[in-house]
Symmetry: D3
Subunit: 197 residues, 6 copies
């Protein structure tokens, strides 16, 4: 099997981590029921860990014209373009939950143009995909297409910055051989009552 | 929403279809519990329908050194490369069932190089991806890589022909705006006992 | 020389083939004066042979708004994009004959944008080339460009399906090392009277 | 039709050209029986005409380890990659004549990897195609592959320089809408005795 | 001119910035003699500013087997591939200074394969360019190529993480229309004594 | 170091060159203060040398609607796209001098879309980049975009032909391992008075 690839950067013991990082990870575990691998993989390097999650939170938790679901949709679509297994599966789960839609993550990850999403969301993803794959060619027409949906330049910064953050994140996951926790694959796919059962 | 795209080629009524096709579709419905959209989309054109499924069955049901799971893995990986939503989701379901592995389809569709699969399966997918994306450049070294895993040229024909069949199928699904049935998204993701519950 | 490449999948003896396939091949030979290699290469696998030609005929012999020449033009242009030597040369010959134009096949195979063809044919090929190379990105504008030339969605299915069929065919030819019969290279290049001479 | 494209840069009258250019063109006409369009298209600009053909002759008429046929093969293969209709058809004719092989030009233009050519010629074309499409990535291994066939660095300069010259030529033909003379399409396809008849 | 592009996200007044950010910027100005535009462009969003520079410093100031010059070389080469004007020019200046080499930045930004650098540096850049452009395809051979130069997996994390950080940075600069300060273009190009004069 | 790459095609002694070439090179040296390496690299082959510079001068010295600066801008932008180190650095110097702008060369070489240039120059470069990278797809709309800026088809020939000439030149420089003279890196970067000092 391909085990060596994922063993190159082993995950540290929680006990060996700095206090602030251990606390943050335990809080995530408390909330989610498991520790997403990205936390343990990055915790090997505490300074990078802190900067990564500070950046992530600055963008993903920020008040914005974008809904939480739209932000995750950007992550899933562009991570699909970057073939980042960890981000597609982990953020796909979050996307399903935020959108209360068990189908949308697979659609957006595979081909966002065929996804059953609103024209507004389609416009967001068109822009994000250009930032992800050819940011050098961004021009006024790309901004105008989002203005037509009522987005301001400040909103567009959100779209572009989330995409840029995951350009980093996708490359780290591919470098580190980060595998999604098995839990992510099923999250958000079942109606709430079944899950409770 | 994007409804127009999926309405361009409406699905016919079962009652209006030729007898042999209606029978085939009812048999699938009996077995699966629903009619996969590919059957109804293609049934609009009976001759093409018959040829399509004859070709599909000639390859997918054929005795081969490839397991059924490996055949579906080829479909899912190359359909991911072609960004074919229908085939990734529908054949992803079948792949999960054949491999009794709820994780493998998402892995292979997103980035087969990071999937948790054997070197043999990795070699199959390397070859299939080359047929899918640059068949003009196939050379002796590509065959040799599969010979090293014990495959004969006849087995390699199977790999290449399945890939070629889905090069057709992916394009038809993208052309026709074929959407996966909602059922496919969840199939094979739950342990069998839960499903029964 | 490169003989090994073409020997990997040897052509069977006519005598060893199933009756229906032998009959079909002899009919082609009777009509064309030779047996195109695609028949013998694929006859190694009778079920795939039957499905392939059933599909081919369902599309190429079907009554359509497309002329026979336009259908072959789709084949030649997209096979050029896929660098499929067999299909460019064999279908180039058929195209020259149908169009009674000794120049058009080389033009369309090399660069359809520079070919001396009508705007209607240019629009057909623009669509076909998108199906061949990036079907995931097909959108309403692509359909509209063909509607502007009077094509219906049903006609567009023909264009897309022929392209999809040869996406399969090109990959099989490249996989199997299929070489065009020498006869094809010259067919349709000479005025009829010279040929008779 | 697409006439405007070819009319943008009209061909001058022979009578209006400088003496040296008219003489050169008449000599070509005498030898070939017609004036290849490249001569008339470029003659609009006498200084560029003179430099173009001086460069062309410096490379194509130079004594070299490459045969005349091999030089033309480089032109046809790389012009195919650049989708240059004029050069594929015009130099395809010359290639057929030099190699006394009516099939090789179509093979090399469509997919040189599948052409029925010697390993030596294959190595020449591998190098030429890299110069044509990604010269920035040339490295020692590319030179070594040709040394293995007995070529010196001076021979490799010939290969690269011919490719570079036609990188220019292909772009000029595409810019100027240069169409091959109809005569070229058939040249070298018939056995000599038939031609005489 | 293209002024609108750079005006979309205006730079804030220093006086309006949070204390910690203003202090940081004034310190940079003190040291460099000017404020690089990246500081003012990003300061519009204090939380993102803080995370960005924390991440940057965690990687660029970290003790490592990579020299400071090698770290900047990664930035310049991958920013060239991403066509990020700001990063090529600004980090090109820093690279020239660290390496005490007025030529290397232009070489590495244009074509690192032709740069006059050691095999060790070439290996670093080969890996970095793969992370930048196709991180999904990273495999064991890419790591082995660096092990051969004595790098550990921990060093390789540095290479990959710096590349990933600038995948983010390049996209932000392209999004925000960030222009390099004029000072950067000349920095490190003159011998120290001339500069003093 | 990478010395072998630049040693493959050693530069000849001036004394061994034909009289006309030696005279031409000495004149350049007289004017520039040094001999640009392209002269010595190409002088190895006198006939190619003469044709190269005749072609170069026919285009670059020709009276034209394009300014000298615009011509060099085409060279720098397309050489950047072709990753040609020699041409980016050497012609970047000339561009800075002609435009009396120490910043423009680095801007145009890295990402012409972000350069601080007029819409007219942007239109020139859009066309040139298409000729450089996909001349097969040139169509009427590309010409119309330049007509809108007052350019005639004859001016457009200039743009296309300069691009085509450097498609050749870039490939020769990459083939021959041509390195820019150190002098070029700094030329045109300093105000004139400093240079005098």
């Amino acid at each position: 099997m391909n085990a060596p690839k994922t063993d190159r950067y082993p995950m540290p013991d929680l006990a060996d981590l700095p206090e602030d990082i251990r606390t943050q990870i335990l809080a995530v575990q408390e909330k989610s029921g498991f520790v997403p691998n990205v936390f343990l993989k990055l915790a090997r390097r505490p300074d990078e860990f802190r900067a990564f999650f500070a950046y992530h939170d600055a963008l993903m938790l920020r008040e914005s014209a974008l809904t939480k679901g739209e932000k995750e949709m950007i992550v899933v679509a562009t991570s699909g373009a970057n073939q980042c297994l960890y981000c597609v599966v982990a953020h796909g789960a979050i996307l399903r939950i935020y959108e209360k839609n068990p189908l949308v993550a697979d659609q957006v990850a595979t081909n966002y143009r065929k996804a059953d999403i609103s024209p507004r969301k389609r416009a967001i993803l068109d822009f994000a995909m250009k930032v992800a794959t050819e940011s050098h060619a961004l021009d006024d027409a790309d901004f105008a297409a989002l203005h037509a949906h009522g987005f301001t330049d400040e909103d567009i910064w959100d779209i572009g910055a989330i995409t840029a953050m995951f350009a980093l994140s996708n490359r780290m996951a591919n470098l580190a051989g980060m595998m999604p926790n098995p839990e992510f694959y099923l999250l958000g796919r079942l109606p709430r009552e079944k899950k409770a059962g």
